[in-house]
């Protein structure tokens, strides 16, 4: 066993940088030599190509080639095993390197600080989302009510979406739980303007029909836009409680992402509750 002084806890530069990036949710990628010369050697890169990589695989040219590949893997969110020559040559297999990308966690924006919000935020946290709860009503959108959320924002949905919308992508989710046209119409309009992968909207089929009329008044009539809305929100699994509904919503998000066939409430008829 190696003898380590108490101060050794701060003396691991690559691990410390990886740890800090993971805690902050910053994109980072790590290369590890797993076979060949220099087993265990590390190279760590962030998303910014202007930042120098940390660590070394034991050869400057190998570092340059693997550093470039790491950034490409990070951009794609891939993890892979690759082979290189000792100086990074392609088509050689002297060194086997494990390239691991740590993309930032996906985001879930939940609009509406209602009963269902806390349960959905809890389940989303289990799945690894960075969760933001947003409601314009100060009395409802409080830290005390949503301690599990990463962020509680008192603001109008369309204003929050205007500020963070450009960062939303296919892995992210917007859940509109207000079922109040004053809040949910601007939230939907704002979400449709982003590249977010999932837009779920709570409310009965009847509520959604009236909502569609309000959306049409706002100029939202494109079938491609309306086709992005999962409303009523969630899979048709007979969910009743906030917790069961949260599972139905998160399962729908997974099924949409993976392209598997699972019955969404949107695609059925009749009452949505068991």
């Amino acid at each position: 066993m190696t003898d380590r002084s108490p101060t050794a806890a701060t003396a691991l530069p690559v691990w410390s940088a990886l740890r800090d990036a993971l805690r902050a949710g910053h994109p980072v990628a790590l290369a590890t030599v797993v076979d060949g010369r220099g087993v265990g050697h590390k190279l760590l890169v962030g998303a910014d190509p202007n930042d120098a990589p940390l660590g070394t695989l034991g050869d400057a040219d190998l570092d340059r080639v693997v550093g470039r590949d790491l950034r490409a893997e990070l951009a794609a969110g891939h993890t892979s095993v690759r082979h290189y020559g000792r100086q990074g040559q392609a088509n050689q297999t002297d060194v086997e390197v494990f390239l691991e990308a740590f993309a930032p966690p996906p985001r879930m924006l939940i609009f509406g600080a209602v009963d269902f919000t806390a349960a959905l935020a809890r389940v989303a946290k289990v799945l690894g989302y960075r969760v933001t709860v947003c409601d314009a009503r100060e009395v409802f959108a409080t830290r005390a009510r949503f301690p599990m959320a990463d962020e509680v924002v008192v603001d109008w949905p369309h204003r929050l979406l205007a500020s963070v919308g450009s960062h939303l992508g296919p892995a992210d989710a917007v859940c509109v739980l207000t079922h109040d046209p004053k809040f949910d119409v601007p939230a939907i309009v704002g979400a449709l303007a982003t590249g977010v992968g999932y837009i779920g909207v709570m409310g009965s089929r009847h509520t959604h029909e009236r909502r569609l009329e309000r959306l049409a008044e706002e100029g939202v009539t494109d079938p491609a836009d309306l086709g992005r809305l999962m409303a009523p929100i969630g899979l048709d699994i007979g969910a009743r409680t906030p917790e069961e509904t949260a599972i139905a919503v998160c399962a729908e998000i997974i099924a949409l992402r993976t392209g598997r066939r699972a019955p969404s409430l949107r695609d059925g008829t009749g009452p949505i509750h068991a």
Binding site: R19, V34, G40, T79, G128
Partner: protein, 104 residues
């Protein structure tokens, strides 16, 4: 990895040595993708997982040996009908793990 960072930091703060096992490659069916990580400290405590529970016991043994010798290694677990008592994945896949001391 993200889910085991705080356990690792707690162990390090308490003066423990830590070994890290990561799924590097997978052939056939397996429950955890490349990147799945598990940490083992020198007291035998475990955080995270690298399979559905099939190989974790053997990984702890290997990880403690990695801490004792200080040398990183690749370890492969697969299922074989010939070795009724060998460690493997019941789902029939083969998993390649890299196990190393957290000394970087």
């Amino acid at each position: 990895m993200r889910e085991i960072v705080e356990d690792i930091e707690r162990w390090r703060a308490a003066g423990h040595d830590v070994a890290l096992a990561r799924v590097v490659d997978l052939a056939g069916s397996g429950p955890r993708d490349p990147g799945a990580a598990m940490a083992v400290n020198d007291a035998g405590e475990v955080a995270g997982s690298v399979s559905g529970g099939c190989v974790e016991g053997a990984v702890v043994t290997e990880a403690l040996d990695v801490l004792r010798t200080g040398s990183a290694r690749m370890v492969t677990f697969g299922y074989s009908d010939d070795e009724a008592f060998a460690v493997g994945l019941t789902c029939g896949g083969t998993v390649h793990l890299f196990i190393e001391p957290l000394d970087w």
